[in-house]
């Protein structure tokens, strides 16, 4: 790993002041550190935001669950409040990586990285989340732009993610047997104003599957989507799964999610 300057920021203001075109924020470091070790990324300045108290914690209101950016996966997984309000969100956190990752990795890091196979982005889409940054509020549907690409500007810092509490919901991941990342993960959430079917792993970026959402909107049942065949031409294809197989998995995992709702 190439050497770098380490800074620990007291608050968001200091963090953003320290940031430059050659810096990175460090929360759990579950992606940043391995990338640096492998020589895939190097930075002049690493700005640690773990010690900013305001960025960590879980707040639940009648309509939403707000999770601070540096809240660890294990904290979301174990939170009684999250379990009560959106149990599928706690279950999702419980299924990320392994115990080591869950005890260091953070929700803000996961979302800012926007790995095409990551779990949390699907929660943001399905639960119609709002991403709070130090500069503005961004709707989830406008936040995830493409593979490893988000609406965040250089130096912009995620402070919290606010999820809408749905009527019912479930996240069903089909894990890659090697990495245990999602080959496909489907997050189904039924809200008062409609059903969202967020899909991760299938395409370069998380998305709301309009075809599935539409059918489930008119009839929220397993049978209504059974046998549906999705277009696979824009889906990912790699040594682990062809586009055709992924298209099948989206429907299968959606069925499982509806069943579990």
């Amino acid at each position: 790993m190439k050497s770098f300057n380490y800074h620990s920021a007291k608050d968001s203001k200091e963090a953003s002041k320290l940031s430059s075109s050659n810096s990175a924020y460090l929360a759990g470091g579950m992606t940043t550190i391995p990338s640096m070790k492998l020589g895939l990324a190097s930075y002049k300045d690493i700005i640690d935001i773990k010690n900013i108290k305001k960025l960590s914690g879980i707040k639940v209101s009648g309509k939403s669950v707000t999770i601070g950016a540096t809240t660890k996966h294990v904290e979301v997984a174990n939170s009684k409040d999250v379990k009560k309000a959106i149990s599928s969100l706690a279950a999702l956190a419980e299924g990320i990586g392994d115990p080591q990752v869950r005890n260091r990795g953070t929700i803000g890091g996961s979302i800012a990285n926007n790995d095409p196979s990551a779990d949390y982005p699907s929660a943001c889409i399905a639960l119609d989340a709002t991403i709070h940054t130090n500069e503005r509020k961004i709707e989830a549907s406008k936040f995830f732009k493409g593979m490893f690409e988000t609406a965040l500007k250089k130096g912009e810092l995620i402070e919290a993610i606010e999820f809408k509490i749905p009527e019912k919901s479930s996240y069903q991941k089909y894990p890659n047997p090697a990495s245990r990342y999602a080959v496909v993960g489907v997050y189904v959430a039924k809200h008062k104003d409609g059903t969202r079917v967020a899909v991760t792993g299938a395409k370069p970026c998380v998305y709301n599957d309009k075809d599935l959402s539409k059918v489930l909107d008119s009839n929220f049942s397993v049978n209504s989507i059974a046998g549906m065949e999705l277009k696979s031409s824009d889906m990912n294809s790699d040594i682990h799964a062809s586009a055709e197989y992924r298209a099948n998995l989206v429907v299968i995992q959606a069925k499982k999610a509806v069943e579990a709702c």
Binding site: K2, S3, P177, A178, S179, Y181, Y245, N248, L249
Partner: protein, 793 residues
């Protein structure tokens, strides 16, 4: 005294390993040591046009950068194939030179071309990136099946063919096939695997200019063999000036048999720079440069009668050697594979034909089972297919073709001394509730799932390699093993073995054996291995040989100790040696009921007279003082573990996911020294075998890049992939060694792939699919099954 052999003695090494007190190669840090990073080829096949180290040499902390030019100037030898194979037409095999640092050509991604030595690892890494290499990239040859059609990758080796080997009689096979009612054929791909030992390879090379001695600490399964090869073929140093130490080693599975480029280069370079050098592989380097396993493409045929009697068998295999032939590279697909091709069956006519090819991939060598898993997979898949096509129960067709008695002289090579294959299969069926399968299948189907059952009956030839047996095959290398048993004057025992433990628990099992032989408590026995300065000689640990060869050498040395002890005790007890019996650590004269313990005799042999008031030596005239004996053991034959395994899988047709529901292993390992340790060996072997069947695959793309070069892409099985294993034994003693032991290290890896795949393919109604049976492959097979069912309806 109760026998320790056969009991579940706790492992002596556990305390050390479980409390972090193990000492592995990368734990070793020497004063003033440097750190090495190897510059490796990013291309699978290329010519090195220009290598420029000028900028890198000036980088901070760099001590030295050495390349293939200096290796050539110093006449350092290359890596070698340990076994010469002759083709069917009588010509000798063709192998390319494999210099430790490539000078003109690189032949696989990871082929090392320079060593960068610096004061710190970070500095070495930075400098390595500054080494400029100008390559002329050539078209790579990567696929096994098509390797003979590709460009010749090594000068003078036509069609990339190392050898075209035959074992058996083509004419007899033709006659058998002419008589057959039916011929069942099968095409098989035995997938390439990465061994993935938990501890990556590492070495620390030290040079003492005062004594002109090199000491190499390395992750080796066989330090003596490493020294021999590095000295005799590598020209690194004469054997007496080269010490090889393999301290605690975290797993090998065959991947640490080889002397590797890094061992030779670091040893040579340490002397050149007169400083110690440390090199530790990163996991990605392990993926790219550790030897790989398997990688066969096979067509096999079985000639049968309508009632299921096997008449003839042929096996045509292309074996991928990778870029170079390494130590066990050429023997694995021949002598370790061919003779086992007919499995546990009495087939009157058979042959194995193997074409070994070079490709631009990592060298392929011995990996747990080495040749026997490939052979077993072929015959057991073929037998299962035959049973299905003839409509005979899969266990009945096996029994029908088992040998009727032992010793069993097989058609190809081996004479199997002992076994009871029917008893093993019957016990496995009972353990697995074979007869209850149909009910469980119905239950699965009621939940929309498919269920399949698979059986394998296997045998293996272990304890490589008895010189008489291999020399009769035209192979010039016998692999014996040595042991030295040394008594201290005060009665404790140190056993030096040439076997090496890298997970096998020799400290425990060998101590159990010596304790029984000598009647000395286990805690007073130490097992020493892994250092050429300590043990006499050794061939190392692989091929399930430690117990059957190394363990027996210990028994033989103990026998010599007892013989000498008898002569001395006789004098002390005023009897003749033939009147002295030895039992439970005591020399007894029956007629007088006088006794001496072995400790007393040992004491007398080192300090004669000190306990005798008359100060008369208790030693018989002409007897040398001291109690230390050495033995070399060369077994008369291989040992032949065998068994039957049964697997049951459930498949979700929606996703193709295969769930291994039940796994039963009933093995005959002969006498078992420590059942707990054997269970561990069976579990580990099964995990690797099931891994091959369902998960693991080393995949190269057409340019020769390894697509599965990390745990993100290479599926190592995990505990949650397995059911609780149902393990049992039958026991027939080996007749070729005094303990009656057969070896257990590889059985699981040999039997599991066909067992699991037979179950998967049974669930799929007989549709062939290749290993690993990934969810997508199985899903596609389920879809075509649905289609053909719909058509039939």
């Amino acid at each position: 005294m109760a026998s320790l052999v056969g009991s579940r003695v706790e492992r002596k090494e556990d305390k050390r390993f479980l409390t972090g007190k193990g000492r592995y190669t990368s734990d070793i840090n020497l004063v003033n040591q440097t750190h090495a990073v190897f510059v490796r080829s990013p291309h699978a096949r290329a010519k090195i046009k220009k290598l420029d180290i000028s900028k890198a040499s000036k980088a901070s902390g760099v001590v030295s950068i050495l390349t293939g030019n200096e290796i050539a100037e110093d006449k350092i030898g290359g890596l070698i194939a340990g076994w010469a194979i002759r083709s069917e037409d009588g010509t000798e095999m063709k192998c390319p030179a494999n210099p430790p640092l490539a000078k003109d050509n690189v032949n696989f991604v990871g082929d090392p071309i320079a060593i960068v030595i610096a004061d710190s690892l970070d500095e070495a890494k930075v400098a390595a990136e500054m080494v400029k290499v100008d390559y002329k990239v050539l078209k790579a040859v990567t696929g096994t099946a098509d390797a003979m059609k590709g460009d010749a990758i090594h000068d003078g080796i036509n069609k990339n063919l190392c050898f075209d080997w035959l074992l058996g009689d083509r004419q007899k096979v033709k006659e058998a096939f002419d008589k057959a009612d039916k011929v069942i054929s099968i095409d098989i791909i035995n997938n390439r695997l990465v061994p993935n030992a938990m501890e990556p390879r590492a070495c620390v090379a030290d040079y003492n200019s005062g004594s002109d001695e090199i000491t190499l600490y390395t992750t080796s399964q066989n330090p003596h063999l490493s020294r021999l090869i590095m000295s005799a073929f590598g020209n690194v140093a004469p054997e007496h000036k080269l010490r090889v130490v393999a301290p605690d080693v975290g797993g090998g599975f065959g991947s640490k048999i080889n002397v590797y480029n890094e061992d030779i280069v670091c040893s040579w370079a340490a002397k050149k720079i007169n400083r110690a050098i440390k090199w530790v592989a990163e996991r990605s380097e392990s993926f790219l440069t550790d030897i790989h396993g398997r990688d066969h493409v096979t067509h096999a045929e079985l000639a049968v009668t309508n009632d299921g009697k096997f008449l003839g068998f042929k096996n045509e295999t292309i074996a991928n050697l990778g870029a170079y032939a390494r130590v066990f590279g050429t023997v694995t697909p021949t002598y370790l594979f061919g003779p086992c091709a007919t499995g546990v069956y009495d087939i009157p006519a058979a042959y194995s034909n193997v074409k070994a090819v070079f490709t631009n991939t990592a060298p392929v060598d011995a990996y747990r089972g080495a040749g026997r898993p490939e052979a077993t997979y072929t015959i057991e898949r073929l037998v299962e297919k035959t049973a299905m096509e003839l409509g005979i129960d899969r266990t009945e067709i096996r029994k029908k073709n088992f040998p009727s008695s032992f010793p069993f002289k097989q058609t190809l090579v081996h004479t199997v001394d002992s076994g009871d294959y029917v008893a093993g299969l019957d016990k496995a069926k009972q353990m697995a509730d074979y007869d209850g399968f149909q009910a469980r299948k119905k239950d699965s189907e009621s939940r929309g799932k498919l269920r399949g059952i698979g059986v394998t009956s296997y045998f293996e030839a272990c304890g490589i390699a008895p010189s008489a047996a291999v020399m009769s095959l035209g192979c010039g290398v016998g692999l014996w093993e040595s042991a030295e048993v040394r008594f201290n004057p005060t009665g404790q025992v140190t056993v030096y073995t040439g076997s090496h433990s890298h997970g096998q628990s020799h400290q425990t099992t060998f101590a159990q054996i010596a304790a029984d032989e000598l009647g000395v408590p286990m805690e007073n026995i130490d097992i020493v291995h892994g250092d050429t300065d300590k043990g006499t000689f050794g061939m190392g640990t692989y091929g399930s040989r430690s117990l059957t060869v190394g363990g027996i050498a210990i028994v033989k040395a103990c026998n010599k100790i007892v013989e000498k002890g008898k002569r001395v005790a006789a004098k002390m007890l005023e009897a003749s040696p033939d009147e002295v019996d030895f039992k439970d650590g005591e020399f007894i004269v029956a007629k007088s009921n006088k006794k001496k313990t072995i400790g007393e005799v040992a004491f007398a042999l080192y300090l004669p007279g000190s306990r005798d008031s008359e100060f008369k030596s208790p030693l018989p005239e002409g007897e040398e003082p001291g109690l230390k004996e050495t033995s070399f053991f060369d077994p008369a034959n291989f040992s032949f573990p065998a068994g039957s395994h049964i697997a049951e899988v459930e498949i979700d047709p929606d996703t193709g996911e295969v769930k291994l529901e039940k796994y039963t292993a009933c093995d005959d390992f002969g006498r078992i020294v420590n059942p707990m340790i054997v269970e561990g060996q069976v579990h580990g072997g099964l995990a690797q075998g099931i891994g091959q069947a369902l998960y693991e695959n080393a995949e190269y793309d057409e340019t020769g890049q390894l697509m599965t070069g990390s745990y993100m892409d290479y599926t190592m099985p995990r505990a949650d992939n397995f059911p609780e294993f149902n393990i049992g034994y039958t026991c027939t003693h080996a007749t070729t060694n005094p303990l009656g032991v057969k070896g257990c290290g590889e059985a699981g890896a040999i039997a599991a792939p066909p067992t699991v795949m037979n179950a998967v393919i049974d669930a799929l109604g007989g549709q062939e699919i290749t290993m690993p049976a990934t969810a997508e492959k199985v899903w596609k097979a389920c879809k075509s099954m649905k289609k053909s069912n719909a058509k039939a309806a």
